[in-house]
Every structure is written in C-alpha cells, then in structure tokens.
C-alpha cells in the first residue's frame, strides 16, 4: 500500500472536490478528504472506498482558520504527492459591496486561505523535492467584472500567487497547476443563469484536474471555449468593457 500515490483534496465536500477525488481514486490514488465538517465527508469517503477499493482518510480543515494551518500540515500522517485546493466562496456581490465582513470572507476564502495553505505545502514539497500543487481558481479572476468583482479580484490574486509559486517551485521539482473551470453545474452555481454550451458537469472538471496533473500542464481552462471567451474579454478596451452589464 505504501507505494500508492496519495492526493489530498481541500474542499472535499464541494461538487468539484468530490469529482476530483473520484477521478484520482479511479486512477489508483489513495485519497485524503479535508473539509470543515468531517462527518459530512464520511459518505464520500465510503463512496471512494466502495467504488475503487482505495484507502480514504478524512481531515478537519477550515480555510478561514489560518492559525491552524501549520498544525494541520504537520499532523497529516504523511505528506501527500498531490494537494488540490477547491476551496472557494462565491458569496453575493451586492451584499459584499456594502458589507465589509462579507467582502472579507469572500476575499479570505478565495485568496488568503487557499494561497497560505498551498504555500505551506509548497515549502514541504520543495523540502522533499517532489509534489504537485493544484489551485482551482476561476475565469472570473481574468478580469474584474461589475457583477462579481469582489470574488473575481480574490481569484485574480490567487491566480497571480499560483503563477509566481509555479515559477519558483518548478526549479525545485514541484509542479503547480492553475485550473480555471468556467461555468460548472454545482451547488455553488445553483439557481444562476448559466450559458449551456459554456457549462460543464463537475466530473469534467475532476477529470481535467487529473489530466493536468499527469501531463504537468500549467494553466488549464477546462473548456477550450473559455480560453477564447476570456481572451476576448481581456482584450476589450476598458472604455468598452466598463459599459458592459455582465
């Protein structure tokens, strides 16, 4: 069993987290699921064990509890081969505009927490000389839009952090993947108007993460259409962009 590769999924109860865990377990990885409510992760752990006959452990992890990060990492029974952060909070843009506490929670959940914990893993991985770090960021971080710039700006910061970390860590044998899923049909987007052809199921993202890790991709748009859409959005002149309602 010791020869099997291991993956740790931070945000394991999210739809993309569950999908990523399934993809890795199917490929033969033993899995650690980390989340705020360990009891809620138990059914997913049982699912992975029953489906793929892999080992699956559960860890308590709260992305807002940054002081606990050091002990979280040191208390893991073993350093995983791959760590994936799917943690994030869409929040409500309109609320965040006036409610500083809500805006802070969005920023900390999407940037501060994920960046700090992955940074910590990067140090450990660099010490070992191997490992893969996956940060699930967002196309929303490619350009701040009127409808979700609090969330988008935090994702932009996270994307920049991952980019810098990748440049540094690559010299030490550690690979960093940035994943930008686009629209995914999940709990987070439930009730939102999503554009059908640009929307994918969580499992597509889970499979794309595994694929990116195995192929050592750097920045992954889950659907190639998004790379194009965001290229257009990024190149629009600000004078035009600011008039757009989305």
């Amino acid at each position: 069993m010791t020869s099997r590769k291991t993956v740790l999924v931070l945000g394991g109860s999210s739809d993309i987290g569950r999908a990523a865990a399934r993809a890795f377990a199917k490929a033969g990885y033993d899995v650690g699921l980390a989340g705020r409510d360990p009891a809620a992760l138990e059914p997913d752990a049982a699912d992975l064990r029953a489906r793929y006959d892999v080992a699956c452990s559960i860890h308590k992890f709260d992305v807002l509890d940054t002081p606990s990060f050091e002990s979280f990492v040191s208390s893991l029974p073993a350093l995983p081969d791959v760590v994936i952060s799917i943690v994030g909070l869409l929040g409500t843009q309109e609320t965040a505009q006036a409610d500083l506490a809500h805006a802070t929670t969005i920023m900390r959940s999407n940037y501060e927490g994920p960046a700090l914990i992955l940074g910590l893993f990067a140090e450990k991985f660099l010490g070992r000389g191997s490992g893969t770090i996956v940060g699930v960021s967002s196309v929303a971080g490619d350009r701040g839009r009127a409808s979700n710039y609090v969330y988008g700006s935090a994702k932009a910061a996270f994307t920049a952090f991952l980019s810098g970390l990748r440049a540094r860590a690559s010299r030490g044998g550690v690979h960093v993947v940035t994943v930008k899923p686009g629209f995914v049909r999940t709990k987070m987007t439930e009730g939102m108007k999503l554009i059908g052809p640009l929307t994918v199921e969580p499992q597509v993202v889970g499979d794309a993460i595994l694929d990116a890790v195995e192929k050592k991709n750097d920045v992954v748009y889950v659907s190639g259409k998004w790379r194009f859409v965001m290229l257009v959005i990024k190149t629009l002149p600000e004078a035009v962009f600011k008039k757009l309602k989305f």
């Binding site: 199917k26 059914p43 997913d44 049982a46 699912d47 029953a50 489906r51 793929y52 006959d53 709990k187 439930e190």
Partner: protein, 441 residues
C-alpha cells in the same frame, strides 16, 4: 416554476423543481403533489410531480460493495452508466439493463425496467434486495421481501408513487468480460420472427428489430439479435477484457424539421439496415456491451430527431396465447398508415416482479410514434386491441393512455392503491401520471 417534459418531450408541464442535497432536505421538499425524478428518461409524465418535482440525481454515492456476493448498496440517484463504468473493470455488471444506461437506480426500480434478458432472468426489481423509502407520510422505512414486503412489491414498478426511493441494495452479475457474443438471425416475416424469438428462449439475451415499413408478405420482417456474455477466451487477441464506454460523441444539436423522417427516407434506411443485418446473419461475432445494450446512447439527445412536437412511444405486452393475431393486426395497421412508426422492437417477457410491473409472459412491441395528425385516435384503436387480448401498456413510456385501458391492464391496481393509501394517507406523492391514471378526481 420550470417547464419539464419526459424523454418524448410530450407533454411539457410547468412544475416546481427542487434539488435537495440531503435526505433530510428530501423530507422537507415533499409536499402535496410531489414525485421523485431521476434522469428524466421516462418518456411521458411519470417523473413530473402534480405540483413539485424532486430531482434525485445529486444522490450519486455508492455506500458499500461486497465483491464476494456482488451486493451493492447505493443512493438512488446513481446512474446505471456509472455502475457499469465503475464496476465492469472489477468484473461486475447489472443483471438487468434497459435500452439506455442513462437511468438512475431509483428510476429503474420505480419502472421495474426490463432488458433483453427478461424472458429468462426477470426484471430490474428481481435483483433488488432492499429499498430505503421515504413514504408519503414521512416515515423512512427499509423494504425488502422479508421486511415491509407490501411496500417492497408496491415500490418495484410502482412509478415512484409509494414514496421517495432514497437508497437500494442490488446484486451485480459477475462477468468475465464486458463483451457480448452476438448472433443475428434474419426473419422474413412476423411468423419467422416469433419463431426465432421462441427458439431464442434459451439465449440469455434476445430482441427483434422489426421493419415497420415492410408490408404485405414482408410484414414483420425482422432482424433478431441473440446474445451471451463472452468468455475471456472468446475475445480477439489484443482486445481488452472490458471495453471503454464512450460518451455520446455525436449529438443531435437541434430539433430536426419533422419532415426529416418520412416514409421515403425511412424506407431507404430500413432497406439498407435490414440488408446489412441479413448479411451478418447466422454467424457469431463479439461486440462491446455498449452498442449491444445501448445502441441509441451513442447519439446524444436522439429524441430531437422527431422535431419540436416530440413523440410518443407505444409499448404494449400481449399474453402469449393471442399474441400472433394481435401483433399482426397492429403491425398491419402501422405499415398501412405509413407514417406511424418506422422501426419497432419485439421481445419476449416473463413474469413481472412488482404489483404494477409491466411484464407478463408474452410478447412486447415498442413503437416510436411522431406526434402529429390524428395519431392519438390511431393509438386509442391499438389500445382496444391490446385490452381485448388481455395486454397492457408500459407506464414508463406512456403519456396518453386512458384510465379504462390502464385499469383493464393492471388487475393488481386495487391492491396497489390500498398499500399506497397506507403509506401516504394524505396523498402527498402524486405525479402527472398518477393524476391522469390513478388518483381519485
């Protein structure tokens, strides 16, 4: 409110859609006029709530699996495609699969779906050991052949009307490979087709595709597909033991104009189809389980070929004794009408397992019928033939049969209703189908 339809895209109905994420939330979601919905592959109005529709596809976890017995416990929203993909590489398949793998376990139990092996091995429900059911009055009960057997046999084939199926324990079939050893037989007419199916009683799988355009002496011209699970030593060298299932690569992107399928285009297609099949007749060959069991799954959203108005599927079963006469009459009417149905599927069924299960010993005929003109009147006449022969219609396919047809076909209905009343005295669980056929008005 959301506009929802079944796979046949008729009828389209306004309903409140809910997507609970926990069993507790399922309980909270149930109100007057609720029904569970799986992957929406029932053709008509079975999975649309009288007021609310509770989408269950999010419940997609496996609870446990015992490779020694093949026993699998899972949440009701797991799809058969998922079971096949996950467990085929471990040497297990579902005992029963319908013509599409994109159905949930909950839906497969509720419709007691049958496959090409029903004549010998029974339906989906026969391999279900136990069901976790949230009844209409709010109890969560485990129902099996030993424990709450009334609820169990009413839930198998009960169209979701006994409550919300939350979990189930089913048995999987150990298999050496994911390949099927297929034999094609060509039959020149209906008599030959029925004889070939009778001769195929000993085959694990059997089904006939009938060319509905063929008339007169060619009436009932068919290709019969028999199948057995292939052993590892029957595979071609280099073939993997378990073929990969491809996602639908080809999808119908838009609703085709309803004139795309007309008697001339289809006559040409059927002629070609029959001749190509007939060329392969007699010999054995090994095919992947995916095209064998799920030929239409390779075309995404194939229901769009019938255009925006949608289509009906008419599937009846006729008891063995009178089957030849009635089937001949139905096929004759269909072929003379010309535009009713182009291809039909004929298959033998055995005893049903649930109180309202569709199968009975006899022959089942399934017709795809584009919705147009006076087609509903035409089908009403076919129903009269079915009822007179002691047959019935498949509720998972139905969108239009009358109460009289339904009541004549399902003699266990009073007993089913009594059990349903005990599980749901306030009448919380109600679908558009139950309003149409079951419920007191």
């Amino acid at each position: 409110m959301t506009l929802v339809s079944g796979w046949g895209r008729f009828p389209v109905v306004d309903t409140e859609m809910l997507r609970p994420r926990s069993f507790a939330a399922v309980g909270d979601a149930v109100a007057r006029g609720s029904i569970a919905r799986g992957n929406g592959r029932a053709y008509g109005d079975a999975a649309i709530g009288a007021a609310r529709t509770i989408e269950m596809t999010g419940f997609d976890r496996v609870r446990s699996f015992d490779p020694a017995t093949g026993r699998l416990r899972l949440e009701a929203g797991v799809q058969l495609s998922d079971i096949i993909e996950t467990f085929a590489p471990r040497g297990f398949l579902p005992f029963v699969v319908p013509g599409t793998r994109f159905v949930t376990v909950g839906g497969a139990i509720a419709a007691d779906v049958h496959g090409k092996n029903h004549h010998g091995e029974g339906g989906f429900g026969r391999y279900v050991d136990s069901i976790l059911l949230r009844t209409g009055q709010g109890e969560v009960i485990e129902a099996s052949r030993e424990q709450n057997p009334d609820a169990f046999f009413a839930t198998i084939g009960g169209m979701g009307l006994t409550g919300i199926i939350l979990e189930a324990t089913m048995r999987l079939r150990p298999v050496e490979t994911g390949w099927i050893r297929e034999r094609v037989i060509s039959a020149a007419d209906l008599d030959a087709a029925m004889r070939a199916l009778d001769a195929g009683d000993t085959a694990t799988y059997s089904v006939a595709w009938i060319d509905c355009v063929a008339r007169g002496g060619d009436l009932g011209r068919s290709l019969i597909y028999l199948g057995e699970h292939a052993r590892a030593d029957e595979l071609e060298a280099g073939a993997g033991r378990f073929p990969a299932g491809k996602d639908p690569g080809l999808a119908v992107p838009v609703d085709l104009p309803s004139m795309t399928l007309n008697r001339y285009s289809v006559r040409a297609f059927n002629e070609l189809y029959y001749r190509m099949g007939a060329r392969r007749a007699g010999s054995h060959h090994v095919v992947s389980l995916y095209p064998y069991f799920f030929p239409l799954d390779s075309v995404g959203a194939w229901n769009r070929i019938y255009g925006r108005r949608g289509f009906l599927q008419h599937q009846c079963v006729i008891p063995t004794a009178g089957a030849r006469g009635v089937l001949g009459e139905i096929l004759d009417r269909v072929s003379r009408r010309g535009d009713a149905s182009f291809l039909a599927v004929l298959k033998k069924l055995g005893e049903g397992d649930g109180l309202l299960s569709f199968p009975l010993p006899g022959y089942t005929l399934a017709l795809d019928v584009p919705l147009k003109g006076d087609i509903l009147d035409f089908l009403d006449e076919i129903d009269r033939l079915v009822v007179a022969a002691g047959g019935r219609l498949y509720l998972a396919k139905d969108a239009r049969q009358s109460r009289a047809t339904f009541e004549a076909g399902y003699p266990a209905l009073p007993r089913f209703n009594a059990i349903r009343k005990a599980l749901d005295p306030d009448g919380n669980i109600r679908s558009k189908l139950s309003q149409r056929l079951f419920d007191e008005v």
